[in-house]
Amino acid sequence: MLESIKNRRAWITQRLANRFPPWSRIRKLAQSVGQQLLEPMGRDLEEVYWWANYNLGNYLLNSSDLQQLEGLSRLSLPITFEWRTYQYPDSVVYLAPTSIRGQLDGTWITLNQAQANSLEEFWYGIPTRIELSEDSFSYYPVLSSTLVADLSSGILVSPAQPGKLWITLSDNGNATKSYMGTKVKASVTLTGRDIHLREATEKVYFGFNGTVQTRLAWSEIYSIETSYIDSTASLRIDWLSVGQTEYLDFFGLNVCADREKFRFWYLDSRSFGSSLKQLVFSADDLTLVEEGHDYKHAIYETQLLDSAGSNINGVSLSPWPRRKFVIVTDGSYLHFYVPSPRVENMENISKATTEAVIQLELEKEYVTQGDTILIDYNMKRPFFRVLRTRLSVQKPDGTRVCITANGSEIPFSSSGWVEHLEGSIFRKLGYQENGISYTISDKGAYTFFLESIIADTLTTESQSRPIFHTDVRILSSSYDNALASLLLPVSVGTVNSIAFDSYQQPWVINGNGVAYKLEFHYDLYLADFQNKLLIFRESYSNIEVDA
C-alpha cells in the first residue's frame, strides 16, 4: 500500500457498515467502535479491489495502463562498496545512503529513495519533476459548446491528436424521454474516420447530463446527429478531458450493487481558497444516476493546501487515470492529492463513558473550515434527572474551551457547568429542543466533550449520589496537504486547465489557448542493499553514490 494512503479512510468501510441496521451506531458513525474495527479490513479490501480492477484493465489492450514502466536503468556497485549499517550483535540493518545524485544533461540532480524503499512507491508513486514534451497545439475542441438547435452550423475541427473523444451534454432536461409509451435515452451519433482512417459510426448514449468518452478513437469527425435531445441542450466534444466538471470515482468503486452510492469529485472555491468536494449519489440502477435518498447522507469537502501548508486557489482538477491521485493546478503548480479523508487521531474517544446517558449528536462527522454545525444532546435513557452539563471542545491547536447554549466560547473552567433545574431547560427530547450552532474556525480534529452529572432517582436524596458521565465525539475539519507541489515549466505561462488525453498523458492549457503535453519524471532510486544494486527510472549519464 502506498505510504500516503495508509492513514486514509477506506470508502469500503462505510459500505461494509451499511450491511448493519439503520439504527445501529456502527452504521451511523464513522468513529463508532465498530467502524474502527472494520476500517483496517476495509482498507485492505479496497486495496485488493483496486488492484483487481487495475489488472483487469491491463488484461484488455484498450484499457491498459500506458504509464507502466517501459525501461529502467541500474547501477551495480563494486564488491568493495559498503553501505552504512546499524550493527547489532545478532543482526545488521542497512542505512539509506547519505546522498545519491544523477547527472542529466550535464546538471546533477539529487535523487530520493522511493519512500520506505518500496517497489509500489517506485512504480506508482507521484512524480518529482515536470518537463514539457515536444507536442504542443493550439487547443480547439472538436466541437465547442453549441446549442443542439444550432448544431447544423457548428464547426467541426479534427482533433490535433487522434484518440478517443469526450462528449459533454448539458441542459438536456429529463435524462430519458417518453416515446410511444417507452422510455428512450438521449444519444449522439458520430460519423467520421477512426484512428485507423476507416470510415466509422458510433452512437453514444446519455443516461444523464454529463461527459461520456467515445468507444472508438477518432481522427476526423464529419457529422453529428442527435436523437431525443432537447434543442435547448448544449453539446461539446473535446479530445482532452477538459469538458468535465465532475469526475466519477476512478478507484473502480463506481460499479456497485443496487442502492449503493457512488461518488464524484469536483473542485470548489471557498473563502480560504480551494476545496475538493465529494458528491455522493445513490444508484437505483447503473444507467440512471439520481441524488441519494439513502438514510446516510455523506459529503466530504477537503480544504486543499500545497505541500508547504498554504492554501491554494485551484483553477482546474483532474483525476490521474489509473493512479490513486487527484491533480489540481493553481496556474503555475501541479498539486497531487489523495482524495480520501484522513483518519483523525481517535485517542480521546477512550475518555467517553461507556453507555453515557447523555450523548452528543453532531450533525456531521466531516466539515470544512468555516462551516457551522449543529450540536445536539441525545438522552439515551429517559426518566433520569440531569443535574449539570458542561459542553467543551478541544481545538486542533490544543486549547480547550467551553461552549455555551448560544454557541459562543467561554474559558474552560468550572464556570462552564450549566445547572439544570428540574423541568427547566433539559427536556426528554434534548437540550432546549434545538441544537447549539457552533462555527468551525480552524482545520484539523475538533474533540467535543459533553460531561454530565445525572441522578438515577427522582428523589432529592439523589443530590448526594450523583453520577458523572462523559461523552466524546470527534469532528474532522478536513484538510489535505499536497503530497507534492511541482512547478510547471516557466515557458508554459499561467495555465487554466489540467487534462488528460485518451492515452493517459497529462496536458495543460494556458491562457492563450495553447495545450502543452507534459512529461512526468521520477528522480527516485530503489536500493537493493544485499546485491549492492541501485535501480533508477530515468536514464542518467552518471550516478554519484555517497554511502
Binding site: 489492450l61 517501459e70 541500474r74 562498496f81 550483535p89 485507423h196
Partner: protein
C-alpha cells in the same frame, strides 16, 4: 568493513563515494504480453504509447500477402504510420460535377483522372499523372499541383502530412466501390446504404418487383409537366415500375419487396480519401510496374513484349541483390 561487531551500540561505517554510469535495464510490462499474443514485438527503446498504437492497429489493418496487407504489416513492423495522403474530389458545378461521370484510378505507377468513365472500354481520360520514380522523389505536393491543373478534379493534402512525402506510397485503388449484396427492405420507398450510385450498375434480385426502371424525365414529371416532390407523390403506377434517385440512393417502387431480396451496385466515393504509407510495395506481375523496369516493345498484334531491364529497373535489382542473395530466374 565491520570494525566492532561486539559493541552494544551501533557503528556507522563510511565507505566513501562512488561514481559510475548506470546501464539500461529493459523491463517488460503488460503491453509486451499483448505483443506476444498479437505477434508484434516492441522496437528497441520504444515508448508505451507508440507500441500501444501499433498493437491496436494489428487487427483493423491486417497484415497479409496482397498489396494492402504487405503495406500495413511493413509499415507497422517498422514503427511507421499510415495517413490519408490525398483527398480527391471532382470540381462541383450546378449542384453536380463538371465532369459527366468522374472516376479516378490510382495504379502502382500513375494516377488516371477520367472525366467520363462508363466502363473499361468506354471512357474519356482527362489526365494521367505518372508519379513513378525510384530515385529522386515525385512528391505528394507535386501530385496535388498536377491534379490542380485539371479542369475536372481538385485534390488536397490529408491531415498530418507536409506534402514532402513521396507519392509512390499512395495505395492503388479506384474512386468507385462495388456493393455485391445489400438487403432490400420490404418497403416501396427506401434508401440504399450509399449515395452517388453509378447509373446502370444497380441490379435487383427480385425481378418481378423491379422490372421497369422509369427514366428521370418520365419519373419526375407528371402528365401535366409538373415536377414531383419525392416521398410525397410517386409516378410509379404499374406493378414492376421503379425509379432510382442515383444521387441520393433512394428507390421508389410500385410493389413492395418481400424483404428477402438483395441488390448490387457501384457507387462513387467523393471526396475520395486515398491512403498513403511511407512504404511502397510493387508486384513484378503488375503490368504498370513491368513497363517501368523493363524495356517494352509493342508487337505487331499489339501485345506488349518485355525486353531487357531498364536503367531504373537495373538499379532496383542491383540494390535487391546487394541485400539478399537470391538469383533471378533459373
Amino acid at each position: 568493513m565491520a570494525t566492532n561487531t561486539f559493541s552494544l551500540y551501533w557503528v556507522i561505517e563510511n565507505a566513501g563515494k562512488y561514481t559510475a554510469s548506470p546501464t539500461a535495464y529493459p523491463t517488460k510490462n503488460d503491453l509486451d504480453a499483448h505483443g506476444t499474443f498479437l505477434d508484434l514485438k516492441r522496437l528497441p527503446a520504444e515508448k508505451n504509447i507508440l507500441y500501444y498504437k501499433r498493437l491496436q492497429s494489428v487487427l483493423p489493418l491486417r497484415g497479409g500477402s496482397n498489396h494492402n496487407g504487405l503495406v500495413h504489416a511493413l509499415t507497422r513492423e517498422l514503427g511507421l504510420q499510415e495517413f490519408i495522403g490525398l483527398k480527391i474530389s471532382p470540381v462541383p458545378s450546378n449542384g453536380g460535377w463538371r465532369a459527366p461521370a468522374p472516376f479516378v484510378r490510382i495504379t502502382s505507377t500513375n494516377i488516371i483522372l477520367y472525366s467520363n468513365y462508363i466502363d473499361d472500354d468506354h471512357y474519356e481520360i482527362d489526365k494521367t499523372i505518372d508519379f513513378f520514380s525510384h530515385g529522386s522523389g515525385y512528391l505528394l505536393e507535386d501530385v496535388i499541383a498536377e491534379i490542380g491543373t485539371s479542369s475536372y478534379f481538385i485534390a488536397e493534402l490529408g491531415n498530418g502530412l507536409t506534402g514532402q512525402e513521396k507519392a509512390n506510397g499512395l495505395f492503388p485503388g479506384t474512386s468507385s466501390q462495388i456493393i455485391y449484396k445489400e438487403w432490400v427492405p420490404a418497403n416501396t420507398f427506401f434508401a440504399l446504404e450509399h449515395t452517388d450510385l453509378i447509373p446502370g450498375t444497380l441490379y435487383f434480385s427480385e425481378i418481378s418487383v423491379f422490372s421497369k426502371e422509369l427514366s428521370p424525365e418520365v419519373a419526375t414529371k407528371n402528365e401535366n409537366g409538373f415536377t414531383f416532390c419525392w416521398g410525397i407523390s410517386t409516378p410509379v403506377t404499374q406493378d414492376g415500375d421503379y425509379f432510382v434517385n442515383y444521387k441520393r440512393g433512394i428507390v421508389t417502387s410500385k410493389k413492395s419487396s418481400s424483404g428477402a431480396g438483395t441488390c448490387r451496385y457501384l457507387y462513387r466515393i467523393f471526396p475520395w480519401h486515398v491512403r498513403w504509407s511511407p512504404i511502397a510495395v510493387y508486384s513484378l506481375r503488375d503490368t504498370n510496374y513491368q513497363s517501368k523496369v523493363f524495356e517494352t516493345e509493342v508487337m505487331l498484334d499489339n501485345s506488349v513484349q518485355h525486353g531487357l531491364v531498364s536503367i531504373e529497373g537495373s538499379e532496383i535489382y542491383s540494390q535487391i541483390f546487394d541485400r539478399s542473395p537470391c538469383l533471378w530466374g533459373e
